[in-house]
Symmetry: C2
Subunit: 334 residues, 2 copies
């Protein structure tokens, strides 16, 4: 069943059917009704590829996430999909994994699918200083279609970033803990991503601003050496540390677990702050105080930028950042 069939059934030309389909004005009410009736009756839907061939787009965008099982990323995808659907775009999902090679492969795969734009969730690893090498595949994709990054920064033409101001958020978290009398605050992270670095930066600034020296041994990377960190948390006599800021809620849950194992009271003897304010934060015991990284805001704004970029000629900001918000629960004092 194609446009010719519909045309002959309705006794009009294909051009008229096409006009009805596309809501063009130049059709009399009478014919429009007749054609619509046939379309309805036959349950006709136009062939998307034919339309795409003519127009160069089928209104799809590629979304790349390293790991869709990650709570933060699935939250992002959830919001992105909802917003894009509203605008008539479909989402082609690619789970890239974390290494550069496979990310680049996912980008290429989506480019081949002729998506109108690319959304990358989660920042690139910038920790090793080879930032420019890490992101060259992004820049090269951006030569063809606009690229939008949620929670990461890559600069370049046709690349648009939306980030949560993690540095500021952690800075404020540190300040809060210090106002509670904490002096020995640990920082725990498991990645060298752009946002993790920002968080670390906020941590350091927070300490320094309050005259507390930064000690490298209070910065923990369980990803690298899970056992060392475990031993540290289980065996270091208090109050060698009296608070922990984690860059992921699940790290905070881990910290809670070790503290419980030692009989440390939370939040009296130890305050713990997680990150992302995920569902984990409210389903564990005690409920986690956590920094809300504004997923909803970041993602709706990303789609706003995307639509503006694709469908208007209005200028689109290269970057937007939003402030994190501390959701206070049971692992910090009030």
């Amino acid at each position: 069943m194609n446009i010719y069939d519909i045309a002959s059934l309705a006794g009009v030309s294909i051009a008229t059917v096409s006009r009805v389909l596309n809501g063009s004005e130049k059709v009399s009410e009478k014919t429009r009704a007749r054609v619509m009736a046939v379309i309805e009756r036959e349950q006709y839907t136009p062939n998307l590829f034919a339309r795409g061939l003519d127009q160069g787009t089928i209104h799809s965008v590629g979304i790349i996430v390293p790991d869709i099982s990650d709570l933060y990323m699935s939250d992002c995808v959830s919001v992105l999909e909802k917003e894009l659907e509203k605008e008539g775009y479909s989402c082609i999902l690619a789970c890239s994994g974390y290494d550069k090679k496979s990310k680049a492969a996912s980008v290429q795969m989506l480019l081949d699918k002729m998506v109108d734009a690319l959304i990358l969730v989660g920042s690139t690893y910038a920790g090793d200083g080879s930032d420019s090498e890490e992101t060259d595949y992004i820049r090269s994709a951006a030569e063809k279609i606009p690229v939008f990054i949620v929670n990461g920064i890559v600069d370049g033409r046709n690349i648009y970033c939306n980030i949560c101001n993690d540095r500021q958020a952690v800075y404020e978290a540190v300040s809060l803990l210090i106002s509670h009398g904490r002096r020995n605050i640990l920082f725990m992270t498991n990645s060298g991503s752009y946002s993790s670095l920002q968080k670390l930066q906020g941590y350091k600034e927070g300490l320094i601003r309050h005259g507390i020296p930064v000690s490298e041994e209070r910065i923990l990377f369980p990803g690298d050496r899970i056992h060392a960190v475990r031993d540290y948390l289980l065996n270091t006599p208090l109050p060698a540390f009296d608070a922990v800021i984690c860059t992921e809620d699940f790290l905070a849950v881990g910290a809670v677990k070790y503290a419980h194992a030692r009989g440390i009271r939370i939040p009296e003897d130890l305050e713990i702050i997680g990150y992302n304010n995920s569902s984990l934060a409210i389903s564990c015991e005690p409920e986690l105080t956590s920094i809300d990284s504004r997923v909803e805001k970041l993602c709706t704004n990303t789609v706003k930028f995307l639509i503006r970029r694709l469908e208007t000629t209005d200028p689109v900001p290269q970057a937007a950042d939003f402030s994190g918000i501390l959701a206070v629960r049971q692992t910090t004092r009030t």
Copy 2:
């Protein structure tokens, strides 16, 4: 840059370029090399829509999940995407929400996108008995393209289901608890989905087989009445219940929380079993014993069925079921 450009740059006809592109045998090595060189140099990728127009497919499948933020579903999508990508199919994701209307809308949306098949994750609600009405939109989609269901059952032509034998898994969990001397086992669920009903069935069968009467007041639906359930768990004097089987890990985490609040010892006084063996199960304290619902197996098999259905004429089973496996951790005795 299109196939004509490549053809003239390489000094051949477009048919030859097309043959090179599609790996057809009838091209001499010499010309193939020459054409490939030009393709490479110009970074040419064929227009997918043109190809799709001719062949009627661009090798995409629609995946519908009620909520991608749900751990179970994102796990499914992760596996599905990985497997489909291997086979050269891309995934168009739709987050449908839970109600029938919007599920039907998502189905229609993906049908319009001309996907080759549909994968529905999570069962339909069959709890109200109106199963046939609930699933008619699935059957009508199945008239056009094959539909694959992960963890749910809808029967009909061109519909293929992969499920975890939840009934059996819960039956075995109940048996285990009874072998530990438990008699007052609660069952907690938050949905009326097909799989929840199966779990409930397994629960009842387990009790009956061991001569324990089924008591309706031991079957809890926090979704319906969260406060009533909360009160029950917080105030009912033990040993009115001595074990809980939950149809979701997060329900189990909630149960742990209430038990801790009362100072109930786990697993000595109360054993708790969760479901899905999610990352939640290992990140909480104590770690949850949980029923593994075989997501990996279900999803890889779904893709296996799908590929066989789309690319061969071999018959494909209408349904496959796999057994759940109990992952024993700290919330049950050993």
